[in-house]
């Protein structure tokens, strides 16, 4: 695939004159998707796709870009791309200048490639289906390569090839209670899969107890890393973005303005070094290995795109234009796994939260629901599943005044999202113990 990418860019750059700069962004994947319901196949198939985005800039600060889906046959694709390039050249002079146009002009080529994978999808699926015999298992298995490339006519080339698989699934019992599980990695290890499933089934046993209907009110809760991830994900809806904080639409703009603070144990980084996503952005800038966004409860640094850096006259940190994090890394706390239930004593153990949104974005107030594996804790023990509950609370309470503490163990959560293409985002998070967590419906 890399050779194909290099051939395309080489031909394209031959058609660029000295007043023009061409940026080529390359995205491709070879994926297998198998969807399961009741441990049977619902839909199974393969997807092969390649797309290229051409951004043509000129020295008068005009720019125009076009994304094309390609065939994978080199001559035909080069012909298509040259036609697209010629269209961009024709349209460019009529467009207004872009005062915020910025591109990387210091050449910094990088390459990350992985050995060809040896996993056999059909063998894995045979094992998954046979070991789930008798279980009401539902979910998606996806696997394959994801390729990301960047090249510009100034001479920079960046390449990132990543193989992974993800089995994101849940297992239901007869009462329609379920436990959500995920096994994502680069190499399939049957014993690791078995351990994850077995641990999940142990929790499912407790979910077989009669459901206890809890009332609205305030509870001591434990959020597993995947539940906490939902809250951090909402904070990331503009929360870490320089632009959103500047114009005030960020849910964390009061934290950014030092009007509010979080608990001093909250530290959140964008950790590209240990994440799965490429270390270069679409403009060719190389991302720092680590950005401290929140430290000890205080806002430290935003994700700042090159465009924002010109608009607001600040230094950028090679963020994408969305200024959205892709490799969240939250510092662990000191609560040991064995102490979680005794610390809650009487309250709720929440494995997952779902469908979050803002009820007051200005003040960081978020609503959402419990889902999968949520238990009542009585006298330090998981006793029974609970009915689905809606919470509505502010991040300044949940991760501020009402935070009891964070766990010393962290989970690496690999995003199983597949909108348009398979995601490379990830998050490494501890669990959180919170007092007075507000349940409203």
């Amino acid at each position: 695939m890399r050779e194909y990418f290099e051939k395309i860019t080489k031909e394209l750059f031959k058609n660029i004159n000295s007043k023009e700069i061409l940026i080529v962004n390359f995205d491709a994947e070879e994926s297998t998707f198998v969807r399961l319901n009741k441990a049977k196949i619902r839909q199974a198939g393969d997807v092969k796709q390649i797309s290229v985005t051409l951004s043509l800039l000129n020295k008068e600060k005009r720019n125009l870009k076009s994304s094309i889906r390609l065939n994978g046959s080199i001559d035909r694709d080069i012909s298509t791309l040259i036609k697209t390039l010629n269209y961009l050249k024709r349209e460019l002079p009529d467009l207004p200048k872009d005062p915020y146009l910025m591109y990387s002009n210091s050449i910094h080529s990088t390459s990350v490639s992985e050995d060809k994978s040896s996993i056999d999808d059909r063998e894995i699926l045979d094992y998954i289906i046979s070991s789930a015999n008798g279980l009401d298992l539902v979910g998606i298995y996806s696997s394959g390569y994801i390729y990301t490339g960047f090249a510009n006519s100034l001479g920079q080339t960046n390449w990132h090839a990543n193989f992974s698989f993800s089995f994101d699934y849940s297992v239901y019992n007869k009462n329609n209670n379920a436990i959500k599980l995920n096994y994502s990695s680069k190499k399939w290890d049957k014993s690791k899969y078995d351990i994850i499933l077995d641990n999940g089934l142990k929790k499912l046993e407790i979910l077989s107890n009669p459901t206890k209907k809890i009332e609205t009110g305030q509870y001591t809760v434990y959020l597993e890393p995947s539940a906490l991830n939902e809250i951090i994900d909402m904070m990331a809806w503009g929360g870490f973005s320089y632009k959103s904080n500047k114009i005030g639409t960020s849910p964390l703009h009061l934290l950014n303005k030092k009007e509010r603070s979080l608990n001093e144990s909250i530290s959140i980084n964008e950790n590209i070094k240990d994440g799965l996503s490429p270390n270069f952005n679409a403009d060719g800038f190389i991302k720092p290995e680590n950005i401290s966004m929140i430290a000890n409860g205080e806002f430290i640094e935003s994700l700042t795109s090159p465009r924002s850096s010109i608009e607001y006259s600040v230094t950028h940190n090679a963020s994408s234009s969305s200024e959205y994090p892709s490799s969240i890394d939250m510092k662990e706390g000191i609560i040991k796994s064995n102490d979680i239930l005794s610390t809650i004593n009487n309250g709720i153990y929440i494995s997952n939260l779902w469908y979050l949104n803002f009820s007051d974005r200005n003040n960081g107030r978020i609503t959402g629901l419990t889902r999968f594996g949520c238990f009542l804790v009585e006298n330090g023990e998981l006793t029974s599943p609970i009915n689905t509950m809606r919470f509505d609370d502010s991040v300044y309470s949940m991760l501020g005044t009402n935070l009891i503490g964070l766990t010393s163990n962290r989970d690496l959560l690999i995003d199983s999202g597949t909108y348009e293409e398979r995601s490379t985002a990830s998050a490494r998070l501890p669990g959180a113990l919170i007092n007075n967590f507000k349940m409203t419906l």
């Binding site: 997807v47 009007e259 469908y355 009820s359 007051d360």
Partner: protein, 478 residues
Amino acid sequence: MKNEFLNQINTYLPSVDYCSFRFVNKYTNILSVTRNVLEPIEIIEDEGLMVTVIHDGGFGYGATSNLTREGILKATEEAKKWANFSKGNLIHQPTPPINTIDNGKYFTSEKDGWAKESNKDKVDYLMEINKALKSKPAISNWGASFRYNKVETLFTDTNGSKFRQNISYILPQLIACAEYKKQIQTRTYGGHAHARQVGYDFLKDSDLINRAKVIANDAIELSMADNCPNKKCDVILAPDQMILQIHESIGHPLELDRILGDERNYAGSSFVNLAMFGNYQYGSKKLNISFNPDQESELATYNFDDDGTKAEKKFLIKDGKLERPIGSFYSAQRADQDFVACSRATSWNRPPIDRMANINMEPGDSTFAQMVSSIEDGILLETNNSWSIDDYRNKFQFGCEKGTLIKDGELKEVVKNANYRGITKEFWHNLEMVGDKSSFSILGTANCGKGEPNQTIFVGHATPSCLFKDIDIFGGES
């Protein structure tokens, strides 16, 4: 050229029990002007083909952007391999259709085509809208964009069916934010609601300059307004909030694949079960909901779905009673239910699943003025800005950009951070009055997410304003 391509790929159909080729070409053009500056214009062209094979009790697909003979045959082999692998392991062994579609067609009617207007003229219009949005100093952030999408589908199968559809739609988006005492309030037009199958002439006739001034004034007024009160009262939902209410608490729970459990790991299930169809009272007798792919200019109007099922209007809920699910030809086989033409995929690279198309609230007999005058203590809620509902589609909480209090039959002061919450089953029984044709609006949302692998798709909703009794409303932090 397209007919030639269709005839050509037709010759590649394999000798199996059933196979279909679904070619999709998508063109997207997005122009955005933010705070008077043109953002990089986006042009996205995407095309590819999905091969679906049903053979010897198995089912599989192969999708490729390689449209050469070699590429299509390779994808067909992949589909056959998956069909072979899934044999005996399928949740349901599908029975393929037996009917044929003879050169079916559907084309969006565009009086002025998108390409007729130059990029420069479109950008100039967006610049003008930006000026109208920033008409007052209190506006802290503003912007406007146009998104145009054209989706062409060519379909052929081993039954001899062939059809071609061209669906194009436009979504205008305007935003104005105002800041007062470090509190920001936002008003939008377009956004989640105003996508339609129209030509560029629709944008020119929509008086977007005036709309820009209205939302800018609204944002300023909201930034200085009190929070929405916390209480139980009567609520009028404007069409641009009604569509979200219909979408989340009727559309999604009636999707048959959810009821059959396919979505339990991702988008969720439903409180609706198969036994409810034909007898369950979903809401008050004022509630009439249709699956209506015939509504002119609505976002998901079409003649065929992605499995080649002919589309026609059918009632889902009549006089409050649940009649049928949103279930496709294949899902209906699994559940022994009536089907609608709702099998839709986001593009060539995802398999079709049960989807809303146009899910509409039929007009009632009340004018907007009659609804307002009937309320002693209540609120008018406009334009969704927050949506959250549980995985069985029971407990919901929705937020709106603008609330206007109603006292003794009259609209009064504006309030900010207006939210309401409830439980689906109770909420639709509280439907008291349904607006007549004068408030009936054809709207639609371009981004409805569902499915594994994930898919977003455009969905139409047409609805009048409606009045609900005894709803819990509340505001933001004091």
